[in-house]
Each structure stands twice: as structure tokens, then as C-alpha cells.
Amino acid sequence: MKILLVGGHQETRFLARSLKLKNYDVTVVNEDKAWCIMLADEYEVNAVCGDGTSPSILQNARTDQMDLVVALDHKDASNLLTCEISKKKFHVPKTIAVVTDLKNVPLFRELGVDRCISATNYLIEMIEQETITDRISRYLQIENGKVVIFEVEITEQSKVINQKLWNIGLPPQSIISCIIRGEQTIIPEKNTELKVNDKAIVLSVSGVMDKAMNVLTGDKVHQMHLSTTGTFTFL
């Protein structure tokens, strides 16, 4: 597979190294000539020095033969243009843009970039996961965060102990998909009851995640942290 890395600095270096180790055919385009020479010497990649948003430079880098173009510049506008030229002029099958401004993720997709990677987004996700780990051990986003799966431990304070599942008042669009009781795993039915120290695996849309958690844990402390999860629904 032939991969073109456009722009970027240290990240290009490490990406080039690990891609090269996996035997991909790597080409880099960078404006910094010394950096190009270093990359070419050190990692035996093909390097082209120049502006990665210029069609003639991309032509020199044989963009038309690439299977994948990754735009790593720190300016979102440049990455958009690199992907656009690769796609429309050189018919590259797949383009990936690194995006700084989170709002640009849906926009770039609308404008034809195949995939956007946002470091900010990952950072926010990690911070959120850290913030809420005191009550939920793990949570997993599906479909870019529209749906979440999370694990809640039923403690003694919980008001749902020994109640039947149909009776505990989980919000609509959320279900307990599995209960882990010691070594046992239970796929619940409506008459299943929750016990202390059960772990409930809940599947819900992200909007009702905090509500569902409040029902199961019996407190409202975590509402604040989780309200930000709503921002992911549009991604």
C-alpha cells in the first residue's frame, strides 16, 4: 500500500517510522528541506520538499499512484485543500485529514474528506472517561458517540436493589443488556432483580446516559460531568 504523508513535523517522523516498519511504501511532502532530508536518510522514505497544497508538488510526489493520503498540517484549511486536490485531481481512493477545530469534523466530511482525525476530540474523550471513572468503570462509544455502552456497579446506596427490572424506571432508549454477578453473567428478563455488587452493563443513547446512571446509582452527583457527552452526538 502506498501512503503519502503531507505536512506535519514530529508526528510525520513517528508515523513514517512505524508505517515503514510495517512495510508500507511511504512518501512525505514537507516544506522544511532539512526535515525532508533527515526523513529520507533516517527512514528511507521518499521525500518531496514543497507546499503540500500545491498541485504541482503533489504531482511530483506521485499522488496519483497513492492509495492513501494523510494531511497532517497544523492548519485545518491546508489539510482540507490537500485532501481535496488529492481526491479530485489525482483520484486518491482514501484521504484522511487531521483537524484541530472540532467543529470542522462534520464540515470536512460534508466537503468530501473521507476521514477526520481530531486530537482534541480524543483528548476530550479521555478526560471525560477519567472524570467519570469513579462510578462507571468503562464506557464505550458507538456510532461516533450516538450510542454508549457503560458499566455501573450497584452499591448499597442504590435504590434499585432487589427490584424487578421493569419496575426501576430506566429512561426510554436505555436498557440493561447484561448483569454480571460474581462469575455469573445474566442476560436479564423483565423479572430479573438487581443485587448488591452486581455490575450492570447498560446500553443507551448518549443523551439519557446520565439519567440511566442516576437511576442505578441513586444519586445525582454525576450529572454535571456527563452533560458534556451531549456534544458528541453530532459528530
Binding site: 498541485p55 504541482s56 484549511a77 491546508s78 485543500l81 481535496e84 479530485k88 467543529k103 466537503l111
Partner: protein, 148 residues
């Protein structure tokens, strides 16, 4: 192409307040258009003549929030006139494809970058091409005069 037609358009947004952007803004304002200028630096607004009393907004023109503050939702014309070709192309595409602005003009120094402009209906102003055609006119005319 007539940017400021006699019918009063809803909103004219000009991104980038350099010589070009500022002059365009003041022309539009003098023709009673509802003009808003955006620039990332407040200092750029000193390029506007004192007679200009339209809106000016400090902000990043590639940021959709800034564009919405400037009223892109009811804008009829947007001119991307920053000093960065890539930014101009991005702004123009946002305006055309995301907000469906009627007339979108992008000033682009390097015309090889205009891959998708024609397809999606962004009009392009390229100073180099304009200069060449003007210069050619001058050269052609002087030759003709000599011949006479």
C-alpha cells in the same frame, strides 16, 4: 460580474480586511449594502476609510461561529479575501456548500489550487491572471499605435 447589483441584497460579508477587502467593503457600503468585514486582527480595520460605517468583526474567518456572527445565514454575497489562498478556498467552500450563499468569490494568488471552484460554483479572482490580461492589453495597444 456584478457583485453589488441594484437590488438590495441581504448581507455582504467580506473576509479579510487588507487593501482589497477594505476597498471592496467601502464601495459596497457607499452603495447602501449591508456590509460586514471580518478580520483576525483588529489592526486591519484601520485600512477601512473613515467614511465606512458598516460592521466589522474580529475573528477567524474559517471558523463557522465567526461566519454566523457575521450573518452568513442570510448573506447573499461572500468574498474571501484573506492573504492565505488555502483559507480563502476553505471559507468559500463553507459559504457555498454549507450555507448555500448565492455569490461566493475567492481571491486566489495561485490559480493551480482552484480544483473544485468551477464545479461547485465559486467565482475566482486571480490577481496574476488579471494583471497579465491588463498588461497584454497595454502591450497590444502600444504596438498598434506604432503601426499606425
Amino acid at each position: 460580474m456584478k457583485l453589488f447589483n441594484s437590488k438590495k441584497s441581504d448581507n455582504v460579508i467580506i473576509v479579510g480586511c487588507g487593501r482589497f477587502g477594505a476597498a471592496l467593503a467601502s464601495t459596497g457600503y457607499n452603495q447602501n449594502q449591508n456590509v460586514t468585514v471580518i478580520d483576525i486582527y483588529t489592526a486591519a480595520f484601520k485600512n477601512l476609510p473613515e467614511s465606512y460605517h458598516g460592521f466589522s468583526i474580529e475573528g477567524d474567518g474559517t471558523d463557522m461561529n465567526t461566519l454566523e456572527t457575521a450573518g452568513i445565514l442570510c448573506a447573499d454575497v461572500l468574498v474571501a479575501a484573506t492573504d492565505d489562498d488555502n483559507a480563502n478556498l476553505m471559507i468559500a467552500q463553507i459559504a457555498k456548500q454549507h450555507y448555500n450563499v448565492n455569490h461566493v468569490v475567492a481571491r486566489i494568488y495561485d490559480d493551480s489550487k482552484k480544483v473544485s471552484c468551477d464545479q461547485i460554483g465559486i467565482e475566482m479572482v486571480c490577481p496574476v491572471l488579471l494583471s497579465i490580461s491588463e498588461a497584454q492589453k497595454v502591450i497590444f495597444n502600444t504596438k498598434e499605435e506604432k503601426a499606425v
